[in-house]
Amino acid sequence: MTGKTLYDKIWDAHVAHEADDGTCLLYIDRHLVHEVTSPQAFEGLRMAGRSVRAPDKTIAVPDHNVPTTIGREDPEQMTEDSRIQVEALDKNAKDFGIHYYPVSDIRQGIVHIVGPEQGWTLPGMTVVCGDSHTATHGAFGALAHGIGTSEVEHVLATQTLIQKKSKNMKVEITGKLRPGVTAKDITLSVIGATGTAGGTGYVIEYCGEAIRDLSMEGRMTVCNMAIEGGARAGLIAPDEKTFEYVKGRPHAPKGAQFEAALDWWKTLYSDDDAHWDKVITIKGEDIAPVVTWGTSPEDVLPITGAVPSPNDFEGGKVEAAQRSLDYMGLEPGTPLSEIEIDTVFIGSCTNGRIEDLRAAAAILKGKKIKDGMRAMVVPGSGLVRAQAEEEGLADIFKDAGFEWRLAGCSMCLAMNPDQLKPGERCAATSNRNFEGRQGRGGRTHLLSPAMAAAAAVTGRLTDVRELM
């Protein structure tokens, strides 16, 4: 008999019902909720007279809409429609009795940072959220993926999701990374290699020495962008680093229960003889610090490269590349390191954790951002912010000229006051460079926190290795 993958094992442990055609009701261990994709789901429950089946497994936090400026308690800082959504979440959390971290709580932050931080996310769990970056939680060896609002309502009502099993893909990053290369460069390089539809229909397991060497924060960055490669979820098998990270978190098991959990968690790995539907192997030493040049996360190149020409592509991508270059205001052949930027954004569920802030601060220490540069750091949670202040990172950012913000999604998706104006060009540690993503007409280059810090100093996309 062939062995099982990690995905197979988690799946098998969560099937609550299987129909003859293979359609399953998959039991959901943790349901994370934010203000943008949930109001219609709660309204649906009310209209049908249904309740939340497992309020103890449902955790809500506002993040997309909330301002990140000091004094945000002032209602004037939020537009009326944003305020209505946040107030709706306040009310829904109260009415349905679910766990809630309001804006005023220091534990508030981006839902995918709060979940792991509070110990809600544990190995072997199924985790869903009405947000595509739920893939983040896969870093713990949890099967985690984004769902639509109708599915949010389904999970609220039944604590299950109607699912058919995806295929298994292994992405192995062998060997060591070179200096200046980070988890962000790994995940962008994988998308560059597979394309944004390369993972469609698959659950990806990331493995290999370079993945094992990453911290939990780095692993979350890698899994976070699995969705950008089209995958249903990204997974990394839990190990000692995972267990160490989880231990002692507020909602992690304690004492004998922790030991019992550990026994099971240690069985969560892919068997040597497991079947993979697709395998991709990338050498760690081949990965360079990368940036995106276009309007799709697959538009990735090493910082030492140049803007490509539409003729470098085939099929529908020719038109898409031309459209990207027009939108981005770039000429083919321009060295990427000559592209001038006016804005730097460090934050998001991809790179808003403490390690990300440390990496950026290490580059910025004793330096100033370029004159006229607008640069902001938005910690992923109130607790990340507090820790960064304690470690002296906040002072480094402020001394360099960065704005030091409160936690939220901020300029990653510009549903709040943090937005680009038309034509502004931003070096961003977030996850999407789509047209208009950071504000209508805004231009986004995705990169790692260290690369973003380097760009803030020089005023152009910069090879971070020059500043190390």
């Binding site: 609550a16 009701l25 992690a252 799709s296 898409a320 998706l413």
Partner: protein, 201 residues
Amino acid sequence: MDKFETLTGVAAPMPLVNIDTDMIIPKQFLKTIKRSGLGVNLFDEMRYDDDGNEIPDFVLNQPAYRSAEILVAGDNFGCGSSREHAPWALKDFGIKSVISTSFADIFYNNCFKNGILPIVLPQEQVDILMEDARKGENARITVDLENQTVTSSDGQSFGFEVDPFKKHCLLEGLDDIGLSLEKSASIDAFEAKAGQARPWV
């Protein structure tokens, strides 16, 4: 949910690949707490200029396609964010079916929850239907869910695959929460068993 059985309608060609959900419905329109009323903002940043005037070249602004009910689109349609506002906006505009070589997973699932049928066909067939769609309002494409076929205006017919359960729900206009709640006994039993095996969850 509205039933989907057969549909004959104008198909709009959108050959661009990787049309993401930020393009389908930009973030500023996600601040609603309703499902309806998003059609006017469908493809907002491609459809209107900075002053809110229609951009005449955009396909859905052209007279032939203003009442399109089908989109024929480039590869990887609906990638990006999980926002169900994307199918809500399509539906509110009047789009009932989207044809492409592939769809992003979450968007694909979201369509079925809203009575929209996403159809995956091979590149050659999408190319034929794209050409057909370019003919404008005189070229009507027919989608038959029961028989799982798409037929071009000149009678070329292509079969497509669809999950039997999703097909059943769409044909009957079923609320899948209601269906799942009928299996409450199985969920109760699973919860009891899992609660013993993994009490920390």
